[in-house]
Symmetry: C2
Subunit: 159 residues, 2 copies
């Protein structure tokens, strides 16, 4: 298999841009992610591939809760903030205000929609990302959200 | 959690439109799917949520191989063919010509790109779809593919 063809082909998979947050006691994790999809209607499950060495993965593995935020199509700058390592201070994470969700995981009110979840299962694969199956326990959505996609962003993630 | 808000929010997750094929000896399975994402760079893995009662799920669970095809943005009619139960006859599946891939799973040459995979793992969840982790073993891609997304299609799948 040609590595360049494989990369080009895998980059044809369509994904959105999201911010995933979690918290374990006084430690916070937040990261921009794009490998996300729904995985079941009943019960409502989503699946997210998350870098194992990230703060957000460690927090969600310990606390068993996380919040997936949809980024709006004009909110690239907010997504970009969560490319950096997590820094929580004075009621903000990476400079973004947050509130406490139903699970106590952080909710970022500047993002237009979110899905709050409990961790259903962390799947062992030999991959460089963990596959996390999340059960939806809460959802909020403002009207007229147009989600940012990887294809419409300046970034690529895949290959 | 309000069911309408949950549905509206989950439909903000961005997905593409794909045709997933598989074969076990003389039985074939093919279905249009959209709950797909990459799940690892090294090794290259993808994750796909597939209805458990589908032909394609039964074939891939038995043969341990499947092909994920990218649908181009002007190929809605091909995707629509695979909403129907699988019918293989005279070298076609649901009316589409196919060839044998490296794993012997069917490759549809009218679709512009495909990712051929071995089944790495089928994850038990209590959901109505199985989460299938696939390892990429082959990929092919024509130039200038613009992938069809659910958002740009007439269909919705999520909620």
């Amino acid at each position: 298999m040609d590595a360049r063809t494989r990369k080009k082909t895998l980059r044809l998979l369509s994904n959105g841009v999201y911010v995933l947050t979690s918290r374990n006691e006084d430690r916070y994790g937040a990261a921009t992610v794009s490998w996300v999809s729904q995985a079941s209607f009943k019960p409502p499950l989503i699946m997210v591939a998350v870098r194992r060495e990230s703060n957000v993965f460690r927090c969600l593995a310990e606390s068993r809760a996380a919040v997936l935020h949809v980024v709006g199509d004009r909110q690239q700058e907010i997504a970009r903030r969560f490319f950096s390592p997590t820094e929580a201070a004075c009621g903000t994470i990476n400079g973004e205000a947050f509130m406490e969700g139903r699970t106590t995981a952080p909710v970022l009110p500047n993002l237009p929609a979110y899905i709050e979840c409990q961790v259903e299962r962390i799947v062992d694969t030999d991959g460089d990302h963990a596959v996390v199956i999340l059960r939806v326990v809460e959802a909020e959505c403002r009207d007229q959200v147009r989600p940012l996609t990887i294809a419409e962003s300046p970034w690529e993630y895949g290959g």
